[in-house]
């Protein structure tokens, strides 16, 4: 039994659809800009990957507007796009044969912050009744499943930036247990004062105020990462069930592995996760044509990832892609977007570039794709993701 991806929906700082995102990414068009959502004077961080041009009133039913955080609205729009691409919706399969498992980090943080402000500023009577769920981690899973009549297994996975891959694995487990279709992925966003403050407290954000100098993973000048909002929703299906209903497959989730090690600078977990994913896919390292890196943008974690890649593939043994230099790190949306990127690379046989990092200043052990896309045979892509606190996950995507 194998799991294929039949639909993609993307909401990214450099594109509001998978095609727009891919075109922008291949072109090196960045979505990083000064935060204009609120006044950041007084905050050490002023840059982020913001999704611009998103008009929720046009894409989200008006009934859902009072009860949704911005990131849930983006998730709903992305889910609509993914399901449209997969040719699936309410009634495609029996309602208990379709489920939803997304990743989250902090739920509807902007919604929650606003209601907390009302609580303390105006009184409890002003708190929205929808606060009962709109902030909650599982809300994207809930709203997607309700909107599309998917009453099968539902879940949410919280492993920060690794969540996008972990949710995909959760979906695959449900598919193996008998649910033929699972909507998965992650769309995140906490570009509000509270959300920014939380990420700043980690001490791992870049305080540079020029977009060209801020998020520079694997570069000697690495000084932190930038936050972003968005992600991707994917439709995962059991291969034969997808074939029976004529759904086209964009790729296969051939392998997955996860490990956990909170020690700073540790590379053990990432190597274990990657080895497990390769073994699961039945591939040796030389069967991988590209890696989409986690790219923490901090010197110690970058070093640890470069160590891991060097151990797995040998020095400069595989092309390494960091499209998130154009979006920032999207928390639970990040690895989902990286998975979408891998699938697009498999479709078009081209690897996306990283921007801003300098070939002469990056770790010489890594064959980084920088500045220009690289056309090359792509049959299998390894996606790596680390979550704050020690999560490390890996997934292998192959051509359908």
């Amino acid at each position: 039994m194998s799991t294929v991806i039949t639909g993609l929906g993307v909401m990214a700082p450099n594109g509001l659809s998978s095609e727009d995102y891919w075109t922008a990414t291949l072109n090196g068009d960045s979505g990083i800009a000064p935060i204009d959502r609120f006044d950041t004077s007084g905050y050490p961080v002023s840059l982020a990957g913001q999704v611009t041009g998103f008009e929720p009133e046009e894409l989200v039913p008006d009934r859902l507007m009072p009860q949704t955080d911005r990131m849930t609205r983006m998730a709903l729009a992305a889910a609509d796009a993914a399901l449209a691409a997969a040719g699936a919706g309410p009634g495609t399969l029996p309602e208990y044969d379709m489920g939803v498992a997304t990743a989250s980090t902090s739920g509807g943080l902007e919604f929650g912050q606003r209601e907390l402000q009302k609580l303390w500023g105006k009184g409890w009577q002003h708190v929205s009744a929808y606060m009962s769920f709109a902030w909650y981690y599982a809300v994207n899973t809930g709203q997607i499943s309700i909107k599309h009549g998917m009453r099968g297994p539902g879940g949410v996975v919280i492993s920060e930036q690794a969540g996008g891959l972990d949710a995909l694995a959760f979906a695959r487990r449900q598919i193996r247990k008998g649910t033929p279709l699972m909507v998965t992925g992650g769309v995140d966003g906490s570009l509000c004062p509270y959300g920014l403050a939380i990420q700043i407290a980690s001490g791992r954000l870049s305080t540079q105020d020029h977009p060209d100098l801020a998020y520079l993973p694997f570069d000697h000048r690495a000084n932190g990462y930038l936050p972003g909002e968005g992600g991707a929703i994917l439709v995962a299906e059991e291969r034969e069930s997808a074939q029976r209903r004529g759904a086209p497959a964009a790729g296969e989730l051939a392998g997955y592995g996860a490990a956990f090690d909170p020690s700073p600078g540790s590379r053990g977990a990432l190597v274990r996760a990657a080895r497990a994913a390769l073994a699961d896919a039945g591939l040796a390292a030389d069967g991988i044509d590209a890696v989409v890196a986690d790219a923490a943008g901090q010197q110690d974690d970058d070093q640890a990832e470069a160590d891991a890649l060097s151990e797995l593939f040998g020095p400069a043994g595989v092309p390494v892609c960091v499209p998130k230099t154009m979006t920032g790190r999207l928390l639970s949306g990040g690895a989902a977007l990286d998975t979408a990127t891998a699938l697009l690379a498999l479709r078009d046989q081209v690897l996306p570039p990283a921007i801003n990092i300098h070939p002469e200043l990056t770790d010489p052990r890594l064959d980084l794709v920088i500045g220009e896309p690289r056309e090359t045979p792509v049959r299998a892509v390894l996606v790596l993701a680390r979550g704050h606190g020690g999560f490390a996950s890996a997934a292998v995507l192959t051509r359908p």
């Binding site: 039913p61 008006d62 009934r63 009072p66 002003h126 929205s128 009744a129 929808y130």
Partner: protein, 84 residues
């Protein structure tokens, strides 16, 4: 004294539930559940009425509300006793 009307309910529901299309026409005696407004929408609407009309409407009282007529009646009862 102020009175709470169907137009007021329509306005409040627009804010509370994001739309009031289903309150158009003669729907006074149709259950909110059939019109598509769930318990949270009613709680939210009640909270807004409390704030803008200065009355108290308990969650238990809202639980007994079934139709727009019930809602309007409840608010007007509260307004009447508040002005006594």
């Amino acid at each position: 004294m102020s009175e709470f009307t169907m137009d007021d309910l329509r306005r409040v529901m627009q804010e509370a539930a994001g739309e009031n299309r289903h309150l158009e026409g003669d729907v006074l005696d149709q259950p909110f559940t059939e019109l598509g407004y769930d318990s949270l929408a009613l709680l939210e609407a009640a909270a807004r009425v409390e704030r803008s009309f200065g009355v108290q409407i308990g969650d238990d009282d809202i639980a007994d509300v079934s139709t727009p007529r019930d809602f309007i009646q409840l608010v007007n009862d509260r307004l009447a006793s508040a002005s006594v």
